[in-house]
Symmetry: C3
Subunit: 358 residues, 3 copies
Amino acid sequence: MPIDTGQTMIYASNGRFFEDFSLGQTLVHATPRTVTQGDVALYLALYGDRRAVHCSAVFARSLGYPDMPVDDLLVFHLVFGKSVPDISLNAVANLGYAEGRFLAPVFVGDTIRSVSVIIGRKQNAKGGTGIVHLRTRGINQRDETVLDYARWVMVNKRDPAASAGPEAVPELAERVDPLTLGHAVPRFSAAAWDDAASGSPVRLDDYAIGARIDHPAGMTVEEAEHQLATRLYQNTAKVHFDARLQASSRFGKRLIYGGHVISLARALSFDGLANAFHIAGINGGRHVAPLFAGDTVYAASETLEKAELSGRPEIGLLRLRLIAAKNEPVPPGPVRGADGAYHHAIILDFDYWAVVPR
Amino acid sequence: MPIDTGQTMIYASNGRFFEDFSLGQTLVHATPRTVTQGDVALYLALYGDRRAVHCSAVFARSLGYPDMPVDDLLVFHLVFGKSVPDISLNAVANLGYAEGRFLAPVFVGDTIRSVSVIIGRKQNAKGGTGIVHLRTRGINQRDETVLDYARWVMVNKRDPAASAGPEAVPELAERVDPLTLGHAVPRFSAAAWDDAASGSPVRLDDYAIGARIDHPAGMTVEEAEHQLATRLYQNTAKVHFDARLQASSRFGKRLIYGGHVISLARALSFDGLANAFHIAGINGGRHVAPLFAGDTVYAASETLEKAELSGRPEIGLLRLRLIAAKNEPVPPGPVRGADGAYHHAIILDFDYWAVVPR
Amino acid sequence: MPIDTGQTMIYASNGRFFEDFSLGQTLVHATPRTVTQGDVALYLALYGDRRAVHCSAVFARSLGYPDMPVDDLLVFHLVFGKSVPDISLNAVANLGYAEGRFLAPVFVGDTIRSVSVIIGRKQNAKGGTGIVHLRTRGINQRDETVLDYARWVMVNKRDPAASAGPEAVPELAERVDPLTLGHAVPRFSAAAWDDAASGSPVRLDDYAIGARIDHPAGMTVEEAEHQLATRLYQNTAKVHFDARLQASSRFGKRLIYGGHVISLARALSFDGLANAFHIAGINGGRHVAPLFAGDTVYAASETLEKAELSGRPEIGLLRLRLIAAKNEPVPPGPVRGADGAYHHAIILDFDYWAVVPR
């Protein structure tokens, strides 16, 4: 119902502030979304990924999928986008992700809705902001959870002098247990995987642990591109769209949605990780620095760990650290210095489990 | 057939001039268009609207639609776009709309064609231009009219000295009779409407008449965005696409299709009018000032009137005045001054009937 | 398998060099691609073509197609794009096309893969580069060839001092034999063709040979547009995407994919060639000069020749020379001067066979 302020009725929300979040609170986000062939084509046009499982119904069916599964990150963005009006319209920064699991494949025609639960809240020392932790689930039309992940955001207080309220910080796993992953991939025979179609003969066992893979291409981003993407995901954060408002921000310009960077880096990682066809889990992710239109994105990956999938001899998990840099290739050497600081060019540090055929 | 000028055959039309329009003339516009999932996704990516009925097949079916209906304004743009090569290639300005009615829903897979009848023509005092009035209908593959509206445009004469020809100016209703609207919405139970999914609990009876609703977000427009949109609608007016030609125009740059502004403002109006899910009628519309790439669009709505829909207890009509401004939020106070002049920031004044659940 | 260099494993290819191509070599390109409604809508939004056969299922079915066939040039770009990572990542220039034949229609839902055979290779006089000739086929999920064409590219040598290896230059036809064309068009009755829907009454017999058709519109190109297009085609050539890398190139900026120019010019040619609804064959094509974002493209066509299609009284072939220019309309007079040089504004010289109803 609208808020009657005596003088005027308020029909439109200006978003929640820190005081508006309570532990255990459930937020059912608006606008369930039926995924279409148009979403899939736009995603392709925006990032240019070439993994065959998302591009070819013939390839997908040869593995036992009923159709091409939708790119995992498109699912992530759709689920995330719905949470923005309820969670992060007044967010100062999206701080991190953890415990992400892709639990069921999504196909064109599926309808995805998004629900979040507040799992932590803590006022910052300075008092004008607080950290809100939440777990968001994407759910399909059969009430199956397709994606479950945690994130935490810094949110402004409406009234800096207000009481902090009950505080709690959840313990989030440093890495997703690989035993809980892989359910979104049908069983198939390793012989069914077509290296020529997928673009690479490099299978799981060919990767050395501790290797660094430089993805050779770079991609310059335009304002129209990230705005099209972010509207497609129905992510409404003003910082991405309102150049006039942003002119007086500390950056002086529109900020690109962090998820756009993840998708760009993941698409660039095709060259070197063509067969890492599915993101099964997100261990952690951090947007180290902002990206702006006109910047050029580069990517590199590090292989961190391998894991078996029980009863699945045809596939296994490869834990990858996907690093994105702007305006210069990802610098050689450690991602962070001895003092923990990132190289100035680095914008993304994203840790995930990929499924790779063996 | 090509025109044989003696020297050269003319295969391509340069568009009609004022002298080429006659009262009662029917123009069957080219290129019927099958609406696809791609059109729907592009429309989403271009404007970011979040009304659930257009985004979720589950939500749409819960109301009795067989599938998600296509956004009314996408239908409008497709029908309008087809008329441009025949009507407004040599138009000086698109002056206004009236008597618009959305008579049947459009779904992916439907094929829409467009037919116009000239209902008025009058030479302007200065003699070099004239006003042409027309009624355009969008018709689906079952010969059902899905949209019917009138507009009037100022068109150049080929020969300023030519005779004005027969003149007539149609009488157009100041507002669409609400009794003639609502047929594009299936009957449903008011209880079927899911406020959490739609994004707002504000129903028709919650709106006060004479209220002003400020839609909080702003959207900066890029050249690539409006060009993609206008090509998608197959609107061929050169002013939108040819920067070189426009460099010598009075604006010095490409002009954005006015319908792009309507769609942006309508999408921004989600915040405050989430449940105003269907445009049933267009009472009037005026493009007060041009929009250019780089400008930021803001929107506000005024509630003008409510109306019942006979035999439809679950829905009613809300008459809205949608105002768009550029480069500053819509200024408070009356849209037009005592002298009838608009505030300098205002670019659109659009009067329509929306269907809202009760 | 990755390449073990002793120190580091190389998982990502940096593309082939001249030495890596051998006569008769077959390259199965990665990422088969299922064409979707989204691809079709994006193609429309990118170029704005209005030929009814690609836009209306009703129109297409009236001619005997089971559904709207996909635009021939979209098929071309998809087939071409797949070959880039294997062929032209280190190309200096794409020199020409020949012997192109569109052999079967492509519909939404079809899955297209791409295979190339090396048919020629010859080192250039200076020794640092060579010309590679290849024939590329696009093949659908029923193993039918939908497109077959030859092209030749200039490719860098890895080692300028390396031996040239076996050399051969194929003989390619100057024009495709019209007797081998037209198979992608169903048989229909000439009376079935609806001129009002197609946008023009000009049929094959109305065109004079040697005529010049000026297409009246111009289109300014944005970075976001050509990048979206080229990623949609999964063409990975770095010159199109990496502004930072290109800043130090001889052009100083991103280069637009040549196929984007062909599609723009073909779409502009609707005005004058609305009924030239199908590209049956590509006789030759040359990218005379590069196109950059911000440039405005204009087009004109010359009618070169007509040909009958055996047993097909309802259609015939019109051989067209499609000329594109940038930043000024295509200049009048001959395309090339007495010395063979092109006018400075010309960027494309493309010779094709179009199918036109009689």
